[in-house]
Amino acid sequence: MLTARDCTLLIVEDDPFDVKLIQRAMSKARIANPCRILSDGEQAIHYLAGHPPYSDRNSNPIPILMLLDLKLPRKSGFDVIEWVRAQPVLRRLPIIVLTSSAESPDISRAYDLGANSYLVKPVGNDALVDMLQNLELFWLCTNTFPDIA
């Protein structure tokens, strides 16, 4: 069985700059987990559902954790949370919202729909690295995951 550190992290983020900065910060934070980057909500749903072109679970494994932006093309982060939480088994997937919005309606709605955590993207690379380090420490090292697959 794979340890948590080997499992795939799913990152749904449409901004390529942010993707780059997150990837850089992850490497700085020494997070070695394989990451799958998807750029819109619809892709995320297809991926999680195993729809083509993500039918192959070997190359497209079920993630251990999803970092989800809210403002996404086609289907928003809220739609994705709502969909996941409506699935029979997949609903257990921990979802961490990582977004630039600190608006309280967004926060409230995200939690209402079933987000497990809400992180506002910090200003500054160092802050982002700090955040990711903390995230790894809690979610990947400390947290116990449910059985999803």
Partner: protein, 765 residues
């Protein structure tokens, strides 16, 4: 007394206004008059009187009988003489001589049967000597020469015979025996033939035959007279008693009547033909201010009548005494000088013979009425003057006629008063209008409800005028009438018509305005929604590239620093700083826009908590500036929104820390003052101060007084304070002068303010 009482009411001068009660002696009399001893005495007297009468009758009858007997005697003597004379004529007797003739007389006497016992005849010679006589009582009539008449005068028989030839009467002879005699002188016997009857014989005879009758008569009269007398007395007594009762009744009735008369408020008086006062009641006395009847009783009433009315009053009295009733209003001056108006109604009083004996008058004091009438006249006069001078049209309609129209009305209609009184009311309106108006006027007259009418009329010259007429029912000359007061509203109507047109225009304008407002509101709502989504966009989309710029700038410095060289590194630093500035700008803008949207939830907020929390957020800045913060002594609880209040306080304290002269340590004093309805939070600094010209502008968005290099900032901080205060219903202001620091204060209500209502916005100003 009876007469006096019976005559009361027509002539008694003694009658008083107050009548004395019936005399108390009357009852005493009653018992005495009918007492038994009195009655017995009366009856005794009657008996005695009747006895006297009897005796007198007896004696008178006896005397009469004697006279008759005496005359009979004379007649007898005469007849004896005639017999002798006749015999002598028929028998020629030459032998006859005196003696034989005298004897023949006695002879014939014997042939006569004497009607009375003791009766005898004698012949008396002129010397008075009895020469012959028939058988007679002993010693009787021996000497009859003297005749004693009843009167007592004494005659000799020869005197008597010579003078009279015949005589009859009583004679007292010498023997003292009373006899009844009749003498007749006869020449044939040469003397007198005298027939005698003893008185005693007549008396005895009389007593024998008459006295039983006398007794019967006396008994009958002796019984009848007292009885009749008693009956008479009884009748008198009972009549008198009846009269007394009758009088008492009359007195009581009169007393009641008088009390009634006195009780009334009206003067009731009685005058004689000369106008003298016979009687008057209490009210009448008061009316002329007399204490008692004597002051005016019997005097002429003209005395109190005002001179100009005296003649009229005399006329009135005269008419009444001619049998008419009459009425008069006149003035009097009372004995004490009070002037009064009286109204009198007079009628004649008749006696039983149908003659007018007095004037009975009922008189009322009508001073008040007269005064009221005068007042009415005056007020009517006033009304008339008022109405004449009033600037409104005033008219009175009575019995379907205009009975009054004031000057303004005449002026309004263009008709003269005479024309108006002649023409029917509202003739100057159209037929239909007139009908409707008259209908209302009649309704007003019947129901008494005032009403208002506005209608068109035409002046005499034909011009159209509108009148606004208030119609009301009144009493005019004592009869219902309609008072119409109106104003000329022609100009007003024109103005109203104009106004209506303007209103119509205004309404149209309003409608279009409302439409555009609705449109604008809709647009505004849309734009608000857009703004919100814009803010959302800013928070997400604007920050994302910013963060990317910053991130890559840092990455550039970290990963490729040595290759960039000093200048390249500096540029990268600038990019980094610029992104920071923009980030704070976006943060402030977001805060500001957040204040605009949604409703605000108010709770009890502890100032200690809010201020503490704000200072905690500012801790890095405070540390960096090595600032001194003075905290307030009290922390009241206010009614507010914690998040917004905290932001306001944070911004104010942040400003206080920021705007100090270079090299000065910031010193911030936060104080809280409790006001009746609010808590005033003041934040005082030792900063550079604000010129007074800018005290208002600094609260506007993006207003900055200083270059960004000197005092960094976005220019939104105080705008957030201002907007936040408005939303929380707080008053806020600043006191400051350049160089001597600034004091910003806000007043947070303790109770829930009506934050969303505009009047607080007004209060704020």
């Amino acid at each position: 007394m009876l007469e006096q009482q019976c005559a009361f009411g027509v002539s008694s001068g003694n009658c008083r206004a107050d009548v004395a009660p019936a005399s108390p002696t009357l009852a005493d009399h009653e018992t005495r008059v009918v007492s038994m001893p009195f009655l017995v005495t009366l009856i005794g007297l009657a008996v005695l009187a009747s006895i006297g009468v009897g005796v007198a009758a007896y004696r008178a009858s006896l005397r009469a009988v004697k006279r008759i007997v005496a005359n009979e005697n004379l007649a007898l003597a005469e007849s004896l003489d005639r017999i002798v004379q006749g015999e002598m004529r028929s028998v020629a007797d030459p032998d006859r001589d005196l003696e034989r003739t005298r004897d023949r007389v006695l002879q014939y006497w014997r042939e006569v049967e004497p009607p009375y016992p003791g009766m005898f005849v004698c012949i008396v010679d002129p010397s008075g000597k009895i020469v012959r006589h028939s058988a007679s009582p002993d010693g009787v009539g021996r000497e009859v020469g003297q005749v004693v008449l009843e009167s007592g005068a004494e005659f000799t028989l020869s005197d008597l015979l010579q003078q009279h030839g015949r005589w009859s009467g009583e004679n007292i002879n010498a023997a003292g025996m009373q006899q009844l005699v009749g003498y007749y002188y006869s020449p044939r016997v040469e003397g007198a033939i005298a027939v005698h009857v003893p008185q005693s014989a007549i008396t005895a005879y009389y007593q024998q035959t008459m006295v039983p009758w006398l007794y019967a008569f006396g008994g009958v009269t002796g019984f009848l007279i007292p009885t009749l007398f008693g009956l008479l007395l009884w009748h008198l007594a009972s009549t008198r008693q009846r009269l007394r009762r009758y009088i008492a009744q009359i007195q009581a009735s009169e007393s009641r009547l008088r009390a009634m008369l006195n009780a009334g408020p009206e003067c009731i008086k009685m005058l004689d033909a000369q106008g003298n006062l016979v009687d008057i009641n209490q009210a009448g006395l008061q009316m002329v201010e007399a204490e008692e009847f004597e002051q005016i009783g019997g005097q002429n009433v003209s005395r109190v009548i005002v001179p100009k009315w005296r003649k009229a009053f005399v006329d009135l009295n005269r008419r009444v005494f001619q049998g008419q009733t009459a009425m008069l209003r006149y003035e009097v001056v009372g004995l004490r000088g009070t002037h009064r108006w009286l109204e009198t109604h007079a009628a004649p009083v008749y006696d039983s013979a149908g003659k007018v004996v007095a004037q009975l008058a009922i008189t009322r004091d009508i001073s008040r009425q007269v005064a009221a009438e005068r007042e009415l006249q005056e007020s009517e006069q006033k009304f008339r003057e008022l109405a004449e001078n009033a600037p409104v049209c005033i008219g009175i309609i009575q019995d379907g006629r205009r009975v009054y129209a004031n000057e303004r009305m005449r002026e309004f209609t263009g008709y003269s008063a005479e024309e108006l009184s002649r023409l029917p009311p509202f003739h100057n309106a159209d037929v239909e209008t007139r009908r409707l108006v008259m209908e209302q006027v009649k309704k007003c007259l019947q129901a008494g409800t005032p009403t208002r009418l506005e209608f068109e009329t035409h002046r005499k010259d034909g011009t159209s005028r509108w009148i606004d007429l208030a119609v009301r029912r009144i009493q005019f000359d004592g009869r219902p009438a309609v008072l119409a007061a109106g104003i000329d509203v022609t100009d007003r109507r024109r103005a109203y018509a104009e106004l209506d047109r303007k209103k119509q225009e205004l309404r149209q304008l309003n409608e279009s305005l409302e439409r555009s407002v609705a449109e604008r509101t809709h647009q505004l709502q849309d734009s608000n929604a857009e703004l919100e989504s814009f803010a959302h966009t800013v928070s997400h989309d604007l920050r994302a590239p910013l963060r990317a710029m910053e991130g890559f700038a840092v990455a550039l410095l970290e990963d490729f620093g040595p290759q960039l060289g000093d200048e390249g590194r500096e540029y990268a630093q600038h990019i980094f700083a610029a992104t920071h500035r923009m980030d704070s700008l976006i943060n402030d803008l977001l805060s500001y826009s957040r204040l605009n949207k949604t409703s605000i939830h108010l709770t009890d907020v502890d100032l200690e908590d809010v201020i503490g929390s704000a200072l905690q957020d500012l801790a890095p800045d405070i540390d960096r500036a090595q600032a001194i913060i003075h905290l307030p002594a009290i922390f009241p609880v206010v009614r507010s929104n914690r998040r917004i209040l905290k932001q306001v306080i944070t911004n104010l304290v942040s400003n206080a820390l920021k705007f100090v002269a270079p090299g000065t340590k910031p010193e911030v004093t936060i104080s809280v003052e409790e006001l009746p309805a609010a808590a005033r939070i003041s934040i005082k600094d030792n900063g550079i101060g604000i010129p007074e010209d800018y005290h208002e502008t600094i609260f506007r968005v993006f207003e900055r007084l200083h270059g960004i290099e000197t005092y960094p900032g976005t220019g939104i901080g105080l705008a957030i304070v201002a907007r936040g205060c408005v939303r929380l219903g707080c008053r806020y202001s600043v006191r400051s002068e350049p160089g001597s620091g600034s004091t910003f204060w806000i007043e947070v209500p303790k109770d829930t303010p009506h934050v969303d209502r505009p009047r607080l916005h007004i209060a704020h100003r």
